[in-house]
């Protein structure tokens, strides 16, 4: 459905998106995850042909956009990062305009049905620009669904929604997916798409650092454990000694405290203690923490850890 090869966007030498190879399969919900500034919007805008990539190719429905521009655009439903509205149109006029643009039959009925699904049918005659942020977000989604597109591209569609709104939007997305539609959805909050997405790609600093099913990702992340150890003092050579242990992934020092990331599969706490005492270190306090998926995501993105290295298969 979506395929990119070496997709790259550079701004004056700064790469907002680097060598991105995305594969989104037909019928799946693909979560495109990354912190703010990771390059999600830049990627999406390139997918839509609005921004020219510095390098790389894009295929939508297996075809290059510039060759089948109108055919492809008609099969796409897009909710952008911001809901830009005309300030002289009611919600109905706004939707009606786009319904005409996308050649939608029975537009009044279609608009009514979709607006009802998001609980906005009572506000059809209101100026769209007077809508609250959450309402505008839903209006954008309705606009994107008007022509019953085969592929939905959504850039942070639940940003600014209240919990109730998030559930409504999630339900709508899942219903579309059940009807066989492919959905590409970006977010900077894992929990927002954790329950909906079949697969996620994690992008950080423009680089795709992981791409897997939620289940696999969760299993893999569960295997990580964080150990917080407080010392009287940190002896020189201690950190190096710890790194010699095979199950240690990362050690970070802060004052008299070490934060140690290790594989949870083999509980290496005994061996860590042994190494520490061999170095003459005195432990004041030691705590373990199993990472939640959310924390793992934050760790991956903040510390820029790549998960590719331990990936079994491509």
């Amino acid at each position: 459905m979506i395929r990119t090869e070496g997709l790259t966007k550079e701004y004056d030498g700064f790469a907002a998106v680097k060598d991105l190879n995305l594969h989104v399969e037909p019928g799946e919900i693909y979560g495109f995850l990354g912190p703010n500034g990771a390059g999600k919007t830049t990627t999406i805008i390139m997918l839509l042909g609005i921004l020219q990539p510095t390098r790389g190719c894009i295929f939508l429905f297996g075809q290059a956009l510039h060759q089948y521009y109108f055919d492809i655009k008609r099969r796409l439903g897009v909710v952008g990062e911001h809901q830009y509205l005309y300030d002289d149109m009611t919600a109905y006029e706004y939707l009606s305009f786009f319904a005409d643009l996308y050649h939608v039959d029975n537009k009044a009925e279609r608009i009514g049905k979709l607006m009802e699904a998001v609980g906005l049918d009572k506000y059809l005659q209101m100026q769209a620009s007077d809508y609250s942020r959450g309402m505008q977000q839903k209006l954008g989604l309705v606009r994107a669904l008007l022509h019953d597109p085969d592929l939905l591209i959504l850039d942070e569609p639940v940003l600014g929604l209240d919990p109730h709104g998030i559930i409504e939007v999630r339900r709508l997305i899942q219903e579309q997916n059940r009807r066989g539609k492919t959905i590409f959805i970006s977010s900077h909050i894992l929990s927002e798409i954790e329950r909906t997405a079949h697969r996620v790609g994690i992008i950080n600093h423009g680089v795709l650092v992981a791409e897997d099913s939620i289940t696999n990702l969760r299993n893999r992340l569960r295997q990580q454990m964080e150990l917080e150890v407080e010392f009287q003092e940190i002896r020189p050579g201690l950190v190096e000694a710890l790194y010699s242990l095979p199950f240690i992934r990362e050690v970070a020092a802060q004052g008299n405290r070490l934060t140690i990331q290790l594989d949870a599969a083999s509980d290496g706490r005994a061996r860590i203690s042994a190494v520490i005492s061999a170095q003459g270190g005195i432990i004041v306090d030691m705590r373990t923490k199993e990472m939640s998926l959310e924390e793992a995501f934050v760790t991956i993105t903040e510390k820029h850890v790549s998960l590719w290295t331990e990936r079994g298969s491509p």
Binding site: Y69, K73, R74, V78, G80, F97, L101, H103
Partner: protein, 281 residues
């Protein structure tokens, strides 16, 4: 973006963009302000002419509608130039331009749609204005001159050229203010050259051997010649003259020139829009 094929869906986008702009124009107030100004100016000129006819006792007056129509067309094209120069910049500033491009709209369809809206607005203005001329001929015993019909036809093309230039400036500018500024500078440059040339021509030469004035005069003559070809405002001026003089050749040439000018600047606009992007900055 493919240029050749896809005219079916592209045409749909053109018509929708055109329709939306035209509706905004008809429900806005700018159009009526421009029309009112044009009416007022024409009325004053015609009354003046009639008074002259009565006083001088002349029974024939060559082209009573030439000047009123010229003023009307000038006011209309000025209004359309301003509205076209702000339209794209505004949509870009609002961000709504980006949303259009999520869907089946490309650079060419967008530009052509914008252009059509402006030109159709001009036709609407003429549809409101011309009957008033006819009414006037009936009330004053003046004859509706055939030349006026020719002038109106040509004006559609010269106004097109003005609109195309406005749209192009709009795609280059970053926001509404910048585009208005660009438009102002361009217009002033064209007018400045014309006025400068007119003044200099009337000044007598002074020095016998070396005259700096001569150099200035020549420079302005060249500039004026260039502006004559580049400024779409001058096309209507010359076109009216051609109609009055009955020189079909010049008239046809201006027709063609306006059309080429329009197509050229619309093409440049599409390229510029593509190059500068459709996203809000």
């Amino acid at each position: 973006m493919s240029w050749g094929s896809d005219w079916g869906p592209r045409w749909r986008a053109v018509l929708l963009i055109q329709r939306r702009d035209l509706e905004a124009m008809i429900f806005g107030w700018g159009l009526y302000l421009a029309l009112a100004l044009a009416f007022l100016a024409s009325l004053l000129i015609l009354r003046n002419d009639l008074a002259f006819v009565n006083e001088s006792g002349l029974s024939v007056f060559a082209n009573p509608f030439a000047l009123p129509f010229f003023i009307t067309a000038l006011i209309s094209s000025f209004f359309l130039a301003i509205s076209s120069v702000t339209t794209i910049a505004r949509e870009k500033g609002q961000g709504t331009l980006e949303v259009l491009f999520y869907g089946p709209v490309d650079h060419v369809s967008y530009i052509v749609g914008k252009y059509l809206a402006q030109v159709i607005t001009y036709l609407v203005m003429m549809a409101l204005y011309v009957p008033s001329f006819i009414l006037h001929t009936l009330l004053t015993n003046l004859v509706f001159p055939a030349g006026l019909a020719w002038a109106i036809l040509l004006s559609v093309f010269t106004v097109s050229a003005v609109v195309a230039l406005g749209i192009f400036l709009s795609t280059v500018a970053r926001n509404v203010r910048a585009s208005l500024f660009l438009f102002g500078v361009t217009t002033l440059a064209f007018l400045g050259i014309q006025v400068g040339h007119t003044i200099l021509v009337t000044l007598p030469a002074q020095g016998r051997y070396y005259d700096p004035m001569l150099f200035l005069k020549n420079t302005f003559a060249i500039l004026n010649q260039t502006a004559l070809w580049l400024s779409p405002y001058s096309y209507l001026d010359r076109g009216m003259e051609a109609v009055v003089r009955g020189s079909a050749g010049v008239y046809l040439a201006l027709f063609l020139l306006s059309a080429v000018y329009t197509v050229g600047f619309l093409g440049l606009s599409a390229i510029s829009l593509r190059h500068r992007g459709v996203r809000r900055k």
